[in-house]
């Protein structure tokens, strides 16, 4: 038997490890990341001469029916045209039976990296609202993401927000059709209780709302000044019972918008003092102007006395 040098050994290991794209129009460039669901590779689209990100799924026991369904779903997801949803260019099957998705290659930072760079609370909330809007758009088309987490959200070079990795997304009407009850898909620390229990037939938009709440929690956890209203939004999004959560991502987005505009949020009932405090905070410039005017009047009154 021929001795395998370290170079040959590494080459053979890469052959075994890297996907075989030879039957596709893509050419392997490098591995980008690896997770429990699959591995993302940077590849070159040799026909269009552009870089793409390809996720190869480690789906166990892919039957023909399951493969066809996943491809159908990918086709529907590919039709989701929204600036906050990373476009899926292509879907197919590798020679070894694994399914892959080719997506736009997004340059920028992941949401967790973005937060680590010290983004302000307002900036975080604005980005989060953009995430909610993208997810709400998908929900409106019957698509549930099922794996929302900071690592699946990119902030592009121009501040644009993109939700990635729709590889395990499901079409709501087909949710129950092929997946066995008890199948657990997602990321433990970001998934809703019903998703963690594998209750496939219980999953709807509110499972994503829970995950959005977990993402919001991630964004707020290192912030010192978080208002009671923000806390209430978080608690409502992450309620254990889905009936207690926001009914949709757009409702959650609307509450974040109100929070940013210093308007009352639906998740929190303010007392009179808090209402005044919020009004003052919202109209700080006006209040300062009035106070300055009053101060001048007082000074004028005292100084103009004979």
């Amino acid at each position: 038997m021929k001795w395998l040098s370290d170079d040959r050994l590494n080459h053979l290991r890469s052959i075994v490890g890297n996907p075989d794209f030879s039957s596709t129009k893509y050419s392997f460039v490098k591995e980008l990341g690896r997770g429990g669901m699959g591995t993302v590779y940077l590849a070159e689209d040799t026909e269009l001469d552009r870089l793409v990100a390809i996720k190869v799924l480690n789906t166990p026991e892919v039957t023909d029916d399951l493969r066809n369904r996943m491809i159908r779903e990918a086709q529907i997801i590919a039709r989701l045209e929204h600036p906050g949803i990373v476009p899926v260019h292509d879907v197919g099957t590798l020679p070894d039976g694994r399914i892959y998705y080719a997506m736009k290659f997004v340059r920028g930072s992941r949401l967790d990296e973005y937060a680590a760079q010290g983004a302000s609370l307002r900036d975080r909330l604005r980005k989060f609202q953009a995430v909610c809007d993208a997810v709400a758009f998908a929900h409106a088309h019957g698509v549930i993401h099922r794996d929302l987490k900071p690592q699946n959200i990119m902030i592009g070079s121009f501040g644009e927000v993109l939700v990635l990795d729709w590889g395990v997304a499901k079409i709501k009407t087909q949710m129950n059709a092929d997946e066995e009850e008890g199948t657990i898909i997602g990321t433990q620390s970001y998934m809703s209780p019903e998703q963690a229990r594998g209750e496939i037939d219980q999953l709807d938009e509110r499972a994503d709302v829970y995950s959005l709440g977990a993402v919001l929690h991630f964004l707020l956890k290192d912030q010192s000044k978080v208002s009671k209203a923000a806390d209430a939004i978080l608690l409502k999004a992450m309620a254990r019972e889905k009936e207690s959560r926001y009914a949709s991502a757009s409702e959650l987005s609307a509450d974040i918008g109100r929070l940013l505009d210093s308007e009352p949020v639906t998740a929190y009932r303010e007392n009179a003092l808090e209402k005044v405090g919020r009004w003052v905070s919202k109209n700080r410039f006006l209040v300062l102007l009035v106070l300055a005017y009053l101060l001048m009047r007082i000074i004028f009154i005292f100084t103009s006395r004979p």
Binding site: M1, K2, W3, L4, S5, D7, R8, L9, H11, L12, R13, S14, I15, V16, G17, D20, S22, S23, G33, R34, G35, G36, M37, G38, T39, V56, N58, T59, P60, E61, V62, P95, D96, G97, R98, D112, D147, K149, Q151, D165, V168, E180, E181, G182, T183, I184, I185, G186, T187, Q188, S189, Y190, G198
Partner: protein, 248 residues
């Protein structure tokens, strides 16, 4: 740390591997146990021999006796049946057993008698010795060296199995292309075009043959790994950590 997305079957229950030699080593059936032992021996004798030479500074004759003695003793006393996949990888378990065996033999000052139950195995110690002489260990610890040599040996066995399978199925040209392109170690510039010219094939055919060869080779490597892991979970973990691959 990036929290991993996960996907599991119902409540994460995976079936136990069917073709595992590690599972076979626990069998009450002597034939099954013998077959399992043969697989484990074939997969580990060379890294074990080199490890003994390196870590225990044994001369070649001593290392041969200790290698054969270790495997003969393990089979006779059914040591491999005691492996618990929940505690460590089988590779680590075997190395620990090997250390214990060599240490005991050294303490007892015994001179192992070669042969016995191992006589019918053709272990090519001379090739192992040649490899040690021409490719001495660099800065790796003995444990790292054992691991690296085991990975190397797994791939060597896989290449050999792939060659035989190609011969048996009339696809010798697939293997020849694979050998020229993927096993080429003599710094010769090889391209798909040069192979097409050399073998009198269309370049697209070379592309297809090589893709098929790599796919088959991958399958053989994973088959080999599956043989020497106890559970599907261990198989996946080993495939990812040792070979750097995600498997179904």
């Amino acid at each position: 740390m990036d929290p991993d997305t996960d996907i599991g079957g119902p409540l994460h229950k995976f079936p136990v591997t069917n073709h595992s030699a590690i599972v076979g080593a626990r069998s009450d059936d002597q034939v099954v146990r013998r077959r399992a032992f043969d697989t484990i021996l074939a997969s580990y004798w060379k890294p074990a021999y080199k490890y003994i030479r390196l870590k225990w500074q044994a001369d070649n004759e001593d290392a041969k006796d200790l290698t054969q003695g270790f495997f003969a003793n393990a089979f006779e006393k059914n040591h491999f049946a005691a492996y618990d996949a929940g505690k460590a990888s089988f590779q680590t378990f075997l190395r620990t057993c090997l250390d214990g065996f060599v240490s005991n033999e050294r303490k007892a000052g015994r001179r192992l008698k070669r042969g016995g139950d191992m006589d019918h195995y053709q272990l090519d110690f001379a090739s192992a010795e040649d490899e040690l002489a021409s490719h001495a260990s660099s800065t790796l610890s003995p444990e790292e060296y054992f691991h690296r040599e085991w990975v190397r040996w797994m791939f060597t066995l896989a290449v050999d199995a792939f060659r035989r399978r190609c011969d048996e199925t009339g696809r010798a040209v697939h293997f020849r292309l694979f050998e020229c392109y993927d096993l080429n170690d003599d710094n010769r510039e090889v391209s798909y075009a040069s192979l097409a010219a050399e073998f009198g094939l269309e370049q697209a055919t070379v592309n297809n043959y090589l893709a098929a060869a790599r796919r088959d080779f991958r399958r053989i490597v994973l088959e080999k790994l599956r043989e020497i892991t106890a559970t599907d979970e261990e198989f996946r973990t080993e495939a990812r950590s040792l070979l750097g691959v995600d498997v179904k």
